[in-house]
Amino acid sequence: MTSPSTGPDDRGSGGPPADLAARIVGAAVPTAGPAASSALSADELLLVQALGFDPLGIVVGAAVFHAGLVGPRVAGTELVPLSAALLAAREQATARMRAQAVQRGASGIVGAQVEIAAFERRHHLARVVAVGTAVTHVTGPDEGAPPGRPFVAGLGGQELAVLVDCGYEPVDLVMGVCVYHVARQRPGAWVRNLVRTGELATATAALYEAREVAVARLQAEAAAAGADGVVGVSIAQSSHAWGARAVELSCIGTAVRRRGGAPPVRPATVVSVRDRLHASDPAALSARVARRRRGADR
């Protein structure tokens, strides 16, 4: 992922949040010229333009969050303040990215990515960065979207083209987070488990529950955004800070809405004339290209 070079380095400046927001939204917004930057590859650009969109430039949103101390660790429960902080950080970063897009008169953002870019474990700071390419529709910025609210799609150009072909349109990036504290085993159980082999019911229940809660939140966001469904959901689990027993489950996906009116797509069966090895392994491809070059030199 690209680092937010257009955004200020917002760590350590200590400015008030309002100022920060103003800077992040206002900073480095060049007027959309003929040479708008975009993170799209050449073929993605072609497909996006075929859908009637023009790229306006890369939009970035960042948020640094401090997660405060959590009270005494209650056995096997959700760490609600941490869930809220991580979710808020992601929402905030996305909102700022969207605000930049609105400022440029975009009708949407494609290829959006939201991730935790850095985590200062010692200071409990999470830096979340959202990046995407703002696009505008030839018919005007509000095509298909409510005014002032461009769509956000975590999809590349190819995926967007297929989605529109099947009669759907992207609505928003939706996410859900749940940080869960996995209870310690009681000493007796710990001793028994040295030799016992079997399921750990409490730990299973805790993590299974955390995953359900995270996805339920994603679903609630999608429903609130008026979506018909969510595609490309990915679930990630990590332990960023607060110790190994606090497991963070986060999921993100692109909410989509039915537009209708699209004729059914009939896929054709094709045999691709290229080596399968190279399709899956770019290193092998470049090695082969290098070998050929050496051969040509001789």
């Binding site: 096997g76 409490t202 730990a203 529950e209 609630a220 018909d228 332990s239 054709a268 069966t269």
Partner: protein, 281 residues
């Protein structure tokens, strides 16, 4: 956004069918409850989504199951090739539990099957001797005719991608279930004498070869047995993976996973494939 759903309360426990308390509520909002329009979630890519819809299915929801297994110590003979049956059993049943729970979620949704099932393993720092087995997939329902469920009346499961699922259906086959077989094997150490005598020689280590060979065969045989048990006619997309599970250097697990399939219509023929030369690398 974040509601303290069960803060400062009892830790959650699994219901008799193995689901956590919030699972039912989540699945109800996916259109099972009857209030409001149906929503679907899926981890399918857009291409897969398109293909699934094209062959007469629609995604219903992301379903998953999980089981954390504790791996206790087990005796192994230093110089002996042997299967570690307790570990084999524990890991097999943990995967089965995770898959069963995923299937239960799919059943609660009223789905006809689950596609794109992934079996993941997660290790955590807080449990040195435990591993979480996770099954994740997208539950799908047929739009038109039925008869997609397994002979046992359960939703089918399959680890095929949307593309492979489409191709399979074009051939007139349907998935029955994910089948797996595993074998945790202890590979014997060489005796010190042999190790010394072989320092300067490059020779086959017959005992090691045989150990790995046998472990692989056992895993495959068990997978085939699994497929026969659910009434499959064949297995497609078999993957044979080798894992060490932090059980030491001489303990390996072989896992064979594939999708058991059965014929549904025999008169289907796929259209003549077209040759294309792609321009992307």
């Amino acid at each position: 956004m974040v509601d303290g759903h069960n803060a400062e309360q009892e830790p959650p426990s699994l219901s008799p069918e193995g689901l956590p308390p919030d699972a039912r509520g989540r699945l109800d909002t996916l259109g099972g409850g009857g209030n409001g329009p149906a929503l679907f979630t899926s981890d399918l890519s857009v291409n897969e989504f398109m293909l699934i819809r094209e062959c007469g299915f629609h995604p219903r929801g992301l379903v998953f199951g999980s089981s954390i297994v504790n791996i206790g110590v087990s005796v192994r003979r230093w110089s002996k090739n042997q299967e570690m049956s307790r570990y084999t059993q524990a890991m097999y049943s943990a995967r089965e539990l995770a898959m069963q729970r995923m299937e239960t979620e799919a059943e609660l949704l009223g789905a006809d099957g689950v596609v794109g099932v992934r079996l993941d393993i997660a290790y955590y720092d807080w449990g040195r001797r435990s591993a979480e087995f996770i099954a994740v997939g997208t539950a799908v329902s047929a739009t038109g005719d039925d008869g997609w469920k397994t002979p046992a009346g359960k939703p089918f499961t399959s680890d095929l991608s949307g593309q492979d699922f489409w191709t399979l259906l074009q051939m007139g086959y349907v998935p029955v279930g994910l089948v797996l077989g595993n074998c945790v094997y202890h590979v014997a150490h060489r005796s010190p004498r042999r190790a010394v005598s072989q320092v300067a020689r490059s020779v086959e280590a017959p005992a090691t070869t045989q150990a790995l060979y046998e472990a692989r065969e056992l895993a495959m045989a068990r997978m085939q047995q699994d497929a026969l048990g659910i009434g499959a006619e064949g297995i497609v997309g078999v993957q044979l993976v080798q894992k060490s599970h932090k059980l030491g250097t001489h303990v390996v697990e072989f896992l064979a996973v594939g999708t058991g399939v059965r014929a549904r219509a025999t008169d289907r023929a796929i259209p003549e494939p077209q040759m294309i030369l792609t321009l992307d690398r």
